[in-house]
Amino acid sequence: MNIQLNYDEQFINELDEKLNQDGPFSSWDLFKMSYQSCLATVTTEFKGLTAPDRLPHVNFLDHQLECAQQVVEEMSGRAILADEVGLGKTIEAGLILKEYMIRGLVKKALILVPASLVNQWVKELREKFYIPAISHRKRPVWDQNNIVITSIDTAKRPQHSDIILEQEYDFVLIDEAHKLKNHKTKNYQFVRSLKKKYCLLLTATPVQNKLTDIFNLVSILKPGYLGNYDEFTTQFGRDRKKLFNDAHLKQLIQKVMVRNRRQDTGIEWTKRNVQTVWIEFSEKELEAYHQLNQITSDTSNFSSITFTRELCSSREACYLSLKKLIAENENIQNKDDYIEFLKTIEQLPHHAKAEKVVDLIKDKDEKFIIFTEYRASQLYLQWYLQQHGITSVPFRGGFKRGKKDWMRQLFQNNVQVLIATEAGGEGINLQFCNNMINYDLPWNPMRLEQRIGRIHRFGQEEDVNIFNFAIKNTMEEHVLNLLYEKIELFERVVGNLDAILADLKIDDVEEEIQSIFKESGSVGEAKIKLENLSSVISYAQQNYGEENWDGNRESS
């Protein structure tokens, strides 16, 4: 077989010279150690990763290791890393770069990331990977052998770009690569003309709108791999779903793209046990519910649907809202009915759901998080639990950072229950708790997923128990049965739901459901409309379901 063989021609000349000049020569110890250090740094296998052994302080997740291995072994170092948000694309990229550096294949690299992330990248590569990355600012470094991180805007400035485009990079990385989807932009042309051996493009959304997005990204990695622009659009069109439907295209893309979704990461996600807890209103409560329904259906106030929802949560929540309504509005229709109804509320016994909470928690040693939609219910629950000897702390998005941390700490160390209204986004980690009660269900499935995400995340070691409360014969039953159960929300990690909703042009599910209840003349009508909504969503889900990259690895 024809294999080119390159000998070392320099060594013997130098040795000869040293012998003629009689030195200097290394000692036996240093000679031995030099040989040993070479043994310690060679990679004796074609396949597999050596980088993880060199990074004992980092725990890599399986899908990250597999991704790095796949890119190195099968994609020969040119790939789109398109994991969903939060699965660690940076880590994967770092692993790949490290592997190539260890194998002596990369010495000079250019890493282009958004300006705001330059320092974070430098830090991460240095601390996690011991890669001596530098940001460009300190001194002009383009023409040296090193790992430079900068923003694309800096790199393409005339005083830099001329030098950069002359360099022969062993490795080029572009973060947030979806910004390069338009091949007519300067950024795109700039990246396209970089000289590079290995190349990684990082994006969570490889196809944002049009199928040609992926064409443009692939053309950076392998120009011509998908033909030219016209051929591509003629053959595959512009419909982005083709990426997952067209077998030929899919096969082509799989050779250049790794996409892990949460559910196929192979991470040992602990199990998610989801239980619906059905609750019966007491007779008095049910009566009040129907009464309120009657009153609200007579008014056209958009928020009136809220009152019935609140009644399903706590007397207090409903009471306060009605009070406010009456106080703020002089001339509402059936004002007297509302005033009358306040009296009814005053007569109500403790809320059926609150009693259920106590039932569920009181004999357990475990910690629980309770989510409610309403602050009034939060206060009520805290008081009610206290009456039953259950300790709790409140948690609200509006708390200051310090108070949040304090509450979290109290919850971790001192009390059994954390009662939260909407968590307010900023990621607090509550993995030390594995029970969650959704005291009221939000009507937006994305919010439910965010709630669950507080405890069902990396680091959760126990199976997670989710209790969804719903009161029979109320709107809660309809929403739970007709919407959540049907779109199998609880079985899957939502993942692509936001994309589906965007496709369906549903900006706010909550509003959608509200108007369904509001605009329906009868319970039956509302049910039919809810059912229609969930059919549309689950149909879209099936189409999305075909985004299936599992075959990626099995083919290897």
């Binding site: 077989m1 294999i3 080119q4 063989l5 390159n6 000998y7 070392d8 060594f11 013997i12 130098e14 040795l15 000869d16 040293k18 012998l19 009689d22 030195g23 020569f25 290394s26 000692s27 036996w28 110890d29 240093l30 000679f31 031995k32 150690m33 030099s34 040989y35 040993q36 250090s37 070479c38 043994l39 310690a40 740094t41 060679v42 990679t43 004796t44 296998e45 074609f46 396949k47 052994d53 060199r54 990074l55 004992p56 302080h57 190195v72 072994e73 020969s76 170092g77 194998r103 002596g104 294949l105 011991y130 001596p132 051996k197 120009p223 011509g224 791999y225 033909g227 030219n228 051929e231």
Partner: protein, 267 residues
């Protein structure tokens, strides 16, 4: 003969470089660097430049290295096989330990003839779709041409020094240095004939596959620009996938062994 114990390796390294070991216990090492080692390792060129300019004596640093993974919380640098420091040290060694001329230490006061050996340690890199390395240590006896291919293993426990022991004398090589080196290269070429090269076959196949893909997309277009791009891409592919083998000398030199030891190796 790989590094079995990183701690001992570090201790040896700093001892060999004349640094004082102040403390050495349970995976923790406190070292007083010399001026030379401070300059080599501590990355503070301005300090040394300044000190030299002013003619002051420099103050080399003391450093603490920790090799015991249980003690990484303590003050000091944690050294493991991936830490930048150990690779910095490895790098210094590639130049510090590259060329040598050594004599076996002989005691006893008898006249002893020393047999010359050319020792060459090589790293063979197999590059194709993937890459791997192989290290071979070759010794060539320069009188009778005998060759040994696990030379460092044989030498590792023999004491050597840079000057010849009393009452010893060297035999003049019959095989000259360069032709000896050529023999080693010939040996390597023969050796490489015998190893499994399925990796290269795989690389060729992969290259062909990629070429076919390229052709399929390019040759349907008659645009001249695409013709150019095809050529460019083809070159790119060959650069990445065409199999080749690099032979690089790690280190080497002349070793003079007593007749006794020399004979033992040949057997």
């Amino acid at each position: 003969m790989a590094i079995e114990n990183l701690h001992d390796f570090l201790t040896d390294y700093f001892t060999a470089n004349q640094c004082e070991i102040i403390e050495n216990q349970n995976g923790k090492l406190l070292i007083q660097l010399t001026d030379k080692m401070d300059e080599l390792l501590m990355n503070r060129p301005f300090y040394w430049q300044y000190v030299k300019k002013l003619g002051y004596p420099g103050e080399p640093m003391k450093v603490t290295f920790i090799t015991n993974p249980e003690r990484t919380e303590e003050d000091g640098e944690w050294i493991h096989f991936g830490s930048p420091r150990i690779h910095q040290i490895f790098n210094t060694l590639t130049s510090q330990g590259k060329f040598t001329k050594l004599f076996e230490k002989v005691t006893g006061g008898q006249r002893t003839a020393m047999i010359p050996w050319l020792v060459v340690n090589v790293k063979i890199s197999y590059n194709g779709k993937h890459k791997k390395d192989e290290v071979i240590s070759i010794g060539l006896q320069l009188i009778n041409g005998a060759m040994h291919t696990k030379m460092m293993d044989e030498l590792t426990n023999i004491p050597f020094q840079n000057s010849i022991s009393d009452f010893c004398y060297t035999l003049t090589p019959i095989i000259r240095l360069r032709s000896g080196f050529q023999r080693i290269n010939n040996y390597l070429a023969n050796y490489l004939e015998t190893v499994d090269h399925s990796w290269a076959r795989e690389s060729w196949d992969h290259l062909e596959e990629e070429k076919i893909l390229l052709e399929r997309f390019y040759f349907e277009s008659e645009d001249s620009e695409f013709e150019n791009r095809f050529e460019h891409e083809l070159k790119d592919l060959e650069a990445r996938f065409k199999p080749h083998i690099n032979i690089e000398v790690i280190n080497g030199g002349l070793f003079y062994l007593s007749q006794l030891k020399s004979n033992r190796i040949i057997i």
